[in-house]
Symmetry: C2
Subunit: 201 residues, 2 copies
């Protein structure tokens, strides 16, 4: 059995959202599954000295235009820049890590629901009660999801996830690793696709 | 007649090189020509606070891998990371600006020759004599090309080119502007292609 594709993402990353809508179908074409890794770009950016895209002169204005244009280009109909952006994503990331070891299928459904709530419906998922409510919509126990956000063991799990990501060379979102080969960005999914088809070049 | 596509690039930019090998055929498919704008990323980066890719922690190591992988992916056979990299590119940029107003066709041939010398044959084109020698290989007067690098009027022209680029919102290389619509990166040529075909979306 082929190993899963590691997919690292921050819930506040527009390109992470776009890729999240495409990566499973892409992987399935090659008989692969996805291992979803929610991370915090803020932690990763401490390593690289990067700033949130929209806060960089020139690049910020361009990025907002490119998010919307790229969403349409890739056929992701539900996209608008949230009114609060970027956001801290500890809450949704912790819900996913808590859920992942309990029900992997439900965790994936919740990832999509959280991303769509933020980028599709302008729900501020940085707020624990909002993130938990989105999970409830997927059939998750709301009180347990809400409690997971403040659970020291889950906080530790997210810290470990960030550390492991940095150790693996991850410095952005989305970041896809296929059999050890790293691909940064939504705009490398074309290379991911060919890599999966050919085993590299 | 449709207006030309503005293509901004730094001679030290690997993705600029890759795009330079693809943009003309792409443009021609849509009945367009290219207006080539050599700029200095160092000047542009002062606006955005960016650093050369290969000098950024984590991202630097990835980038070197991605340059070579992307070259093969896009079918650009002649690519290797030059032994001196990145380089200052005032010399080749000034030769191009000097040549552009004299012989536009020869200027384009010289752009390709300079890029291929640097990324294909590891010629350090930051050295005026090397840049001039490459131009000679295209049929340019070597002494005149060499003199252009130190010509105050050409230095001014490059300064203006950088200022105009920043005013147009350019913050990286390659940077392509189609009828006012900006596209950053080699990995937006797919969107440039569709934009030219459809007039936007």
């Amino acid at each position: 059995m082929k190993s899963p594709i590691d997919f690292y993402f921050d819930f506040s990353s527009p390109y992470g959202y776009l890729a999240s809508e495409k990566i499973e179908v892409l992987a399935a074409r090659h008989g692969r599954t996805i291992d979803w890794h929610p991370i915090l770009l803020g932690v990763v950016f401490r390593e690289t000295g990067a700033s949130p895209l929209t806060e960089v002169p020139l690049k910020g204005k361009y990025s907002k235009r490119d998010f919307a244009r790229s969403a349409k280009f890739h056929g992701v109909e539900r996209f608008r820049l949230p009114s609060t952006f970027p956001i801290a994503t500890q809450g949704p990331a912790r819900i996913v890590l808590w859920l992942k070891v309990r029900d992997a299928v439900l965790a994936v459904a919740t990832i999509h629901a959280l991303y769509r709530a933020f980028f599709g419906d302008d729900v501020d998922i940085s707020k624990p009660e909002n993130a938990a409510a989105v999970a409830v919509g997927c059939g998750v126990d709301g009180a347990a999801a809400r409690a997971a956000i403040d659970d020291p063991a889950i906080k530790d799990a997210l810290r470990r996830e960030n550390e492991q990501a940095i150790a693996a060379g991850v410095f952005g979102s989305p970041f896809t690793i296929v059999d050890g080969e790293p691909f940064w960005g939504m705009d490398r999914l074309d290379q991911v696709d060919r890599w999966l088809a050919t085993g590299g070049w």
